[in-house]
Symmetry: C2
Subunit: 713 residues, 2 copies
Amino acid sequence: MKLQRLLLIALLLSTTFSLSAQIKWTQVAPGVWKGIIGKPEAYDLVKAGGAKANTAAIAKITAAQFPLMQGDILGAVKDGKTTLRFPLDKEEQLYGFGLNFQSVHQRGKILQLHVDHYGGKDNGRTHAPTPFYVSSKGYGVFVNSARYINVYAGSGIRKNAKTPPVEKDRNTDKSWASRPYSDAVEMLVPAAGVEVYVFAGPTPMDAVKRFNLFNGGGPLPPRWGLGFTQRVKSLYTSDEVAKEVDLFEEKGFPLDFVGLEPGWQSKAYPGTFEWDKKRYPQPEKFVKQMLDKGIRLNLWINPYVSKSAPFYPAIKPYTGSHTVWVGEVPDFNVPQARKIFFDQLQKDQVNIGVSGYKIDEVDGYDHYLWPDVATFPSGISAEQMRQTYGMLAMRYSADMYRKQNKRTYGLVRANNGGGVSLPYVIYNDYYNHQDFITALINSGTAGVLWTPEVRASKTGEEWLRRFQTVIFSPMAMINAWSSGTKPWSYPEVADQVKELALLRMQMMPYWYSEFAKYHFEGTPPFRGMALEAGFKQEVKKEAGSTNLEENPYAEATSKEIKDQYMAGEYLLVAPLFMGDTTRKVILPKGKWYDFYTGAFAGDGSVITVTPGLNKIPVYVKDGGIIPMMKPMLHAPKAGEKVDLEIRHYGTAASTYNLYDDDGETYNYEKGDYSWRQIKVTRDASGNLAGTIADAQAGKPNTVGNVTFKFMTK
Amino acid sequence: MKLQRLLLIALLLSTTFSLSAQIKWTQVAPGVWKGIIGKPEAYDLVKAGGAKANTAAIAKITAAQFPLMQGDILGAVKDGKTTLRFPLDKEEQLYGFGLNFQSVHQRGKILQLHVDHYGGKDNGRTHAPTPFYVSSKGYGVFVNSARYINVYAGSGIRKNAKTPPVEKDRNTDKSWASRPYSDAVEMLVPAAGVEVYVFAGPTPMDAVKRFNLFNGGGPLPPRWGLGFTQRVKSLYTSDEVAKEVDLFEEKGFPLDFVGLEPGWQSKAYPGTFEWDKKRYPQPEKFVKQMLDKGIRLNLWINPYVSKSAPFYPAIKPYTGSHTVWVGEVPDFNVPQARKIFFDQLQKDQVNIGVSGYKIDEVDGYDHYLWPDVATFPSGISAEQMRQTYGMLAMRYSADMYRKQNKRTYGLVRANNGGGVSLPYVIYNDYYNHQDFITALINSGTAGVLWTPEVRASKTGEEWLRRFQTVIFSPMAMINAWSSGTKPWSYPEVADQVKELALLRMQMMPYWYSEFAKYHFEGTPPFRGMALEAGFKQEVKKEAGSTNLEENPYAEATSKEIKDQYMAGEYLLVAPLFMGDTTRKVILPKGKWYDFYTGAFAGDGSVITVTPGLNKIPVYVKDGGIIPMMKPMLHAPKAGEKVDLEIRHYGTAASTYNLYDDDGETYNYEKGDYSWRQIKVTRDASGNLAGTIADAQAGKPNTVGNVTFKFMTK
């Protein structure tokens, strides 16, 4: 009897212990701590991504202590699953958990992080369900697991919570809430252990930078990647492509690379990964002809292998148990599989000058991809493969270019934590303009790039409004695979579209420097207001419908800013959508100026603007410096000198770091790059003057003549 | 080298073996086989439900062999998860996988079976995600796991499939399909083992009957449960309830039980489970006063315990780690928890005459219920608790009535496989009339009862159309918790509504016998056409939108019948919805007659009907016998004799088994019941004559005078 009691007590103690086990934290880079719970799996997101942390760059961020009380973070393994708990303060807001499309505030969300196409709801199923969140208090958390992680981002309420909510009587108390206050983020990782990382601030942006640099920093695209790209209609022939390219030239529209959609291969869905002989009889000649015109090619693929692919017999032993559109799924975790697959691409396409790929359908839908019961020769589970397949495809395709010491910049439909540094931009099939902007905001906390691509539109107005945002994004693209639209397809707005495309080109020195900051410093070039100093949004709940038949739990909705974003160091972009003539813009603390006129716009205020159809409201921070070039039709070639017009906004003295390198190779990794400081000073009588530091000897220098333009009179 | 090779071969063989491991099947009842894969968990759906298989009744179903090639069924355990595979034939259709609301055909679906509120998509998250399916080929499969099971119901395509689909080139082949043919159902059970049951036919209905009887057979409600029920507005006082009850009487509307919504308790969300002293100052007197008028009471609860509940200190040690609306969650798998909780209900409510409960919010939403990281004192995981909590609440609440030898008939928002026999009807917050009918169809293959409850309507037309279906359902109910509507709230249709409510009462002998067949024979009283002999629907795919911008994968949609259903042995109900004036009805092979007139309607044909607003089309099979009584305002009391008008339709001689017992107790379990055969014969000149077998001595007999009405002239 006594023994039984003792055993029971021992059992209870051991249970309690395992559930409240604190985590031992090890600092793995300045302001980055790793905690291990249970026995982490051999395969995880960081391993799949294959990036090396940029510890030297992390060290340059303001030093910071472990940002939470370590005793408040708990982890435990039970029944082969890991539970995690992180504390939340009353006024804390959370951002992140991947590429969400409809919400920025993640506190209170319940998600299952699962690579998938975006199905219209922010439920964790998205193209990049990065298990990373950043807190408004200035720290970040990353769960390095390639599993479907359940996230309760401040929704579950424990009976022994430190700050439990007060019980209310719904019958009589109008302040009763269907979602009472929760003081913790809880997660369930379906594995018997996991690695967790905590990133210090002190600001939310610092935590994001640490996360990005820990994953190798953002990709540095080639200069041409930041120009304009047109994806032509499926089944186009080489002649049709050439004709379309000529039209761009004739009409004076910029164009840097052209995307070929299904039809360039002899077979697709599944693919053969070799040119179709009818539509592309002389691929080598055609690619060269394009390159001679300054046009690069990007090829659509999905990685599912047709029995007609030349390498099919060789790759067959290294594919998964299940097929996708009857095509076999190469297990990119098996060296033979990736060698066989990418050798074909290298030999047939990359070696003749193809500049990149669009890797489609590595995300979902569930109905097309392998089921979770599938098996793969590497032993990696179907779930882990689903969470990382996009990353693997990006990683090993980028390797082809690395071998040639040429950068690539492509498109992909799935990424995840660990894939920050891969030179691909996410796109999808969904087509809601507002949600595309929200995704652009969330891309900044998901460690990914996202393009609000333009496909077709109901009206010229919609076309122009969409165009206005895509040129302020990581990839200025029309995707005409189905519609065949051209930039000039809506004649009533063709001039304005051309002007926008040329503005994209003019801003290339700015964009290029901002991407360099993504790579070298971890700063996402496109991001939401939450990462901006001086911006503070209250967490306000608004009452929902009071009709209990429609809203039985009297749910309130959260108010959040999801329609304006930061583009690079200095710009705030506030798009309008079809049907809008006016909008509110929230300007953070500090003076802001109109991008087009230099006029003062506001300071820590909410302004209402009516910009007209032809203009997208863009504001520049006081002291903002925007280096611009002339509106070229193609990105400058390696080494080509370009004159700069450096614009300055507002009245403050300031500096800007201009990045320079050859724009095409990986030589910057060996130090072949330069940062040149642009400096605007202000004398006692308020006159502004600008200078640019001299080029460093032996470093790339593509800056021609420099003129300064002081926009604010 | 040689050793390594041997080891590799051994490894490959063992992998192959574990993945293709065949299952050993044991016959556990006639035509019911159990297969075990790995080490099944101690807790499962059947154990949670607590029912005993009715093997004697199963033995009466046509004998049948194991319905599949055993070698085609595979199971394996890998990484702590169980994968299952079942074969599919080309022309096979699947039904089931729980209470779906928008689709009847389940072949091709991908689901994660997860107890939840219905969120608007048939994705496995529903109030009863029963892991049971029945094939058009006449067999059923049940996976007895209280886990979130992933189902690929003929979607995944293995590269080594027996009948692999042909690869097609999307570029050039118009017959390319985004969802190629799959020859297997695959499932992933997140546990290291599982019990699987196979139910033989020969018909799909036989397989369903076996499944239901294996789980104890359907519940037999008390007679009053099949009458009319009104759920009054929240916060009603006993005086208001009494006044409303009087109004029913005055206006001549039938009423058998009244539901009290939030407000009867002193506190709710979370609840105290004791009467509110202001609104219900004398509960015992009030309940008796109602019973004296022939009105029973049903009380709304959700099982989450307020700190103000009298038993809170006692139950606290037996609640889960997380709260629901700050209320604690009793772990009903701990005997103390259920004793403490249900003792309160028994003492405070059941013992004074309360007749049942409506158990709310045991399904979801995720935001309200405990997260999957929660723990429970019994050691049952949060996931298993989520899958079974509704079952446990039903089971142990029903036990209170069993102790008193009184039947109950209540409402619940979650059930699952294993809960077939529990006397509760599912309802929800969703309110789409069409989808409510589809749910009624699917309830027949989910082992549950479902009510398309009427709440409020935009127009009298909608009110009447909804009323027309709820009287042909397991529970004829208005749920006015929020709206306060009464049957007569739409004056323009009040007469018609009254007529329908009285029709419900007239048909009570039919409904009661049909429910007895659910209990004793396993035949679901409400079900889809797929279980009906003579009904055959082709599996046709219809092309979707050809605009690739809207439908990028050129998805086709499946055509299915989801708006007509069978009600008992003989009736086919074909509802109209708001805005409809006409509809098509598919009549299976065999002659069908109009329920109201007895006129011939069709035979194996599709008819178009324009019934007018006041009529819901209902058809009776040739030889259909419908026993009816006079339109009483309350169900007959125990032992009360009622005269029967027995209607016969068509020209065929036929029989009907009329069930009889005391209508209120469990004495039928001891044999206190009778089946009396009604027989209609036809002489050489075609004249019909009816007889009813004599009552058995010593058995309940509530049949008064019997008249026959031959509806078809």
